[in-house]
């Protein structure tokens, strides 16, 4: 008699795991993502210095090149910036902020988009038309423009004292609002298919509240694609955040994200201190690329047509 496969065995044999094992690129990307996320989360323990503790940084260390160059110092592996902060540490802390903003913005966009998509698809009628027209209008602009607009409006509306402290929430809001449309459209499409199936009709017949039907019955059946969009959206959101910060309207220099670091370093690009801008740039590329590759793989793996 055959033993029932262990839980571990079943997971190993699962379609997803199988396709993961077969794709070396994805394995590398996932590893890199893991490293980025891990080091970002553990930044306060992993980073050699705390770049935000002004009392421990010394201006005289400023502009130290990376350790392997002639004037480098082993104390600062990737060199220091203009204020004498260790670049490796600032990058770790910066990745943390970039990732945090990206994830939060995606979560916000997903919640907003899924809610509107569900309502739109299930209730239909005027509400559906209204929401979808807004989505159409928004789709005709690039997301970065919408984010800039919201960010700008928020800055005008807020008193200047609160700009720095509220910069990150506003940024999350701006990027989130700029990205809800995809979720809403995908969910709406799936809901239109699901809502005419027997189980939904049955639920309706026994008199369940429409809200309960939407959340309990329809939502679980349409959520799959949202996960895929979400994964890919993380990469886009991080890039949007970096772009806004590079333009100087994102994260303030007191809590630098990768984009802010690149902007600050940009001043010194022409004068030979390339490392201040290049290393945060490399970190950004690695982070976004690996997240994107994992997202791509997930999309293909979950797409029955490609199997």
């Amino acid at each position: 008699m055959q033993q029932p496969a262990s839980r571990w065995r079943r997971a190993w044999d699962h379609d997803l795991a199988w396709s993961f094992r077969r794709s070396p690129v994805t394995i590398v990307a996932a590893l890199l993502t893991l490293i980025c996320v891990g080091s970002a989360l553990l930044a306060p323990w992993v980073a050699p210095h705390n770049p935000f503790d002004s009392a421990t940084i010394s201006l005289t260390d400023g502009f130290t090149p990376p350790a392997w160059t002639e004037k480098g110092s082993p104390q600062f592996v990737l060199g220091t910036d203009d204020q004498g902060r260790d670049l490796l540490s600032t990058i770790l802390y910066g990745t943390r902020i970039s990732l945090g903003v990206g994830l939060a913005a995606v979560a916000f966009a997903a919640v907003l988009g899924v809610t509107l998509g569900l309502l739109s698809g299930y209730l239909g009628g005027r509400l559906d038309a209204f929401i979808m027209r807004i989505a159409d209008v928004q789709l005709s602009f690039p997301a970065i423009l919408i984010a800039l607009l919201i960010d700008g409006l928020a800055r005008v509306a807020m008193p200047p004292e609160t700009h720095d402290s509220l910069a990150i929430p506003v940024l999350i809001l701006a990027i989130g609002v700029a990205g809800w449309v995809q979720y809403a459209r995908t969910v709406r499409g799936s809901v239109l298919v699901e809502k005419n199936k027997e189980y939904v009709q049955a639920a309706r017949v026994i008199g369940r509240h429409p809200l309960a039907i939407m959340v309990r019955h329809v939502l679980p059946n349409v959520i799959g694609p949202v996960l895929v969009i979400g994964t890919i959206h993380i990469a886009t959101a991080i890039i949007t955040e970096a772009t806004l910060s590079f333009l100087g309207v994102g994260v303030p220099p007191t809590q630098p994200s990768l984009g802010t670091l690149i902007r600050v370093g940009n001043d010194f690009m022409m004068s030979g201190e390339w490392w201040i801008s290049v290393f945060p740039g490399i970190a950004l590329i690695v982070l976004v690329l690996s997240v994107n590759l994992v997202g791509d793989w997930l999309r293909d793996a979950l797409n029955p047509k490609l199997r």
């Binding site: 503790d53 002004s54 009392a55 940084i57 010394s58 201006l59 005289t60 400023g62 502009f63 203009d82 204020q83 004498g84 007191t254 940009n266 001043d267 010194f268 690009m269 022409m270 004068s271 030979g272 201190e273």
Partner: protein, 531 residues
């Protein structure tokens, strides 16, 4: 017919730029206004001096020479008689007379402007005839002529016609006709000002003097980003760049088609702290003002490593200083320019003695587009003060909004750079360290520094005609300001300018290029000068 018109139009289009020699000049920030009596702000004055003139002006060596006056004599120690230059016309064609001088005097004195220091000590101006005026002084004034250099003369009839008798109230966001339009007598006429974009000036064909240079059109562009400004020079979009980013100077020196003109500026960069309020507006200390305590000010001075700022932030382009005036200014004495020794422990002890053993926090306001590396210096200061437990929060913003806050007393500590237009220590002492009044005394003393003993010395200095005695007074005052730590002086700026090889001009210690000295060679370029 149509063809003829086209030919004529083409010829005309070719003919005009063929004579135009354009100087394209870029610096960091924009002017604040076109009203010559509104803002005592170096960039604004450096543009305004092209258009407006005073009775006297500086020659190449910063000695006083005749401007709108042809000569002067001292009738008595308190009465100066000026002969006005005949046949001078304002840009609108109206003649320049004694009435314009008197009108401008009444205008520049108005309290909403910050230009009163330039007529300090003048009690009254009397008209003798159309081209003679008498300046009546409060008392003898040894630096009287130097003060007048920035006393720009406006046309009375033009100002009255355009309802601009009142000086623009800049800090109340007011705009008047005169803050948007100009009508001076100077070598250049300001054709247009597009805020944050450019100021366009054309040579005044009817100017009374002859220009030494050949620039007939000057375009000034404020370019905030350091990298962009340098790139504009490298790519040939501009001919002259002032406000050079320190990190790029060495590289620009090596560029084959550029040259760098070295020079020091007579400007002191310093931090001022609100010493007048009973409670700081932006600090975590309630009910008292730590800056009133000399020990706290001493500690803040002691924690600053000026040499490190010079070496790292300024890349050698500064002279660390402990006085509030730069070496070119009359009254400067190397012997008393002593830097406070950096000593973290001693500074901590001073703070503890003053009742702040664990330090305190306050907001430091800084401009981010005015002085060389202003924001970066402030960031460095935040770090240096953190080491003695003082937690400064940096608020860096563009000069335009920053200066409005300073002038509205809406700061607790701020960075400022003080250039001395008169090249005499009195100008700094009177504007920054003298107790604030509505007039020229304390006109930029927004830190509310007030010391009756110091006031007495400064007031004595204003009228002391004996050069030796006066120099002694200046020295006393400078030492008093230094030892009471009324400010945190940081350094004097070195200000190299970079320009194309074919451009030549003379360096000015007030960091204000004068286009009348600018020569641009290479005839082939002239054709491109059209817009």
């Amino acid at each position: 017919m149509r063809r003829k018109f086209l030919v004529a139009a083409t010829l005309f289009a070719l003919a005009v730029p063929a004579h135009a020699v354009m100087l394209r000049w870029a610096a960091q920030n924009d002017i604040l206004t076109l009203d010559p009596h509104s803002q005592n702000h170096a960039t604004t004055i450096s543009i305004m001096q092209h258009c407006y003139e005073a009775l006297v002006r500086y020659d190449k060596k910063f000695q006083v020479e005749p401007g709108l006056a042809t000569g002067w004599e001292q009738v008595s120690p308190t009465q100066w008689r000026f002969k006005l230059r005949p046949n001078v016309k304002f840009h609108d064609g109206s003649p320049f007379t004694a009435d314009d001088v008197i009108f401008s005097y009444e205008r520049i004195k108005q309290p909403q402007g910050t230009m009163q220091p330039y007529v300090t000590g003048v009690k009254e101006i009397k008209k003798v005839d159309d081209h003679t005026v008498d300046f009546m002084l409060d008392g003898p004034n040894p630096v009287f002529l130097r003060n007048l250099v920035v006393f720009h003369i406006m046309s009375k009839t033009w100002s009255e016609k355009n309802k601009s008798e009142k000086v623009q109230d800049y800090k109340a966001n007011e705009n008047t006709f005169a803050s948007r339009n100009t009508n001076g007598t100077g070598a250049y006429m300001i054709k247009s000002w597009e805020p944050d974009k450019q100021v366009t000036m054309v040579a005044n064909p009817n100017w009374w003097d002859k220009r030494e240079g050949n620039a007939t059109e000057v375009v000034y562009s404020p370019i905030k980003s350091d990298a962009t400004r340098v790139a504009a020079l490298l790519s040939g979009d501009v001919d002259l760049v002032t406000d050079l980013p320190t990190q790029d100077v060495e590289r620009l020196r090596k560029e084959a088609n550029l040259k760098v003109l070295d020079g020091a500026e007579n400007r002191t960069i310093f931090i001022a702290m609100d010493q007048g309020s009973d409670e700081l507006k932006y600090a975590d200390v309630k009910g008292k003002n730590p800056f009133k305590d000399v020990r706290v000010r001493h500690a803040l001075n002691m924690a600053v490593d000026r040499e490190a700022i010079k070496k790292v932030t300024m890349r050698g382009l500064s002279i660390p200083g402990g006085l509030m005036i730069a070496p070119q200014v009359h009254g400067y004495d190397k012997a008393i320019d002593v830097l406070p020794k950096v000593d973290v422990n001693a500074a901590k002890k001073l703070l503890a003695d003053a009742g702040y053993p664990s330090g305190f926090g306050f907001r430091l306001n800084c401009p981010n587009n005015r002085y060389v590396n202003d924001e970066k210096i402030c960031q460095a200061l935040v770090g240096m003060w953190a080491k003695i437990g003082v937690k400064a929060t940096l608020a860096a913003e563009p000069m335009a909004t920053f200066i409005a806050k300073v002038q509205n007393f809406d700061t607790s500590a701020y960075m400022l750079g003080w250039g001395v237009a008169t090249f005499d220590a009195l100008y700094m002492l009177q504007a920054l360290a003298r107790t604030k009044t509505t007039g020229a005394d304390g006109s930029f003393n927004f830190a509310k520094v007030s010391d009756p003993k110091l006031d007495g010395i400064i007031d004595a200095m204003k009228t002391e005609m004996d050069a030796k005695k006066r120099d002694a007074l200046i020295k006393d005052a400078l030492i008093m300001v230094r030892d009471q730590y009324y400010f945190v002086p940081l350094h004097y700026q070195l200000r190299p300018w970079a320009m194309k090889k074919n451009v030549s001009t003379i360096h000015r210690a007030n960091d204000a290029p004068e286009s009348r000295f600018a020569k641009i060679e290479e005839a082939g370029k002239a054709g491109k000068a059209g817009k």
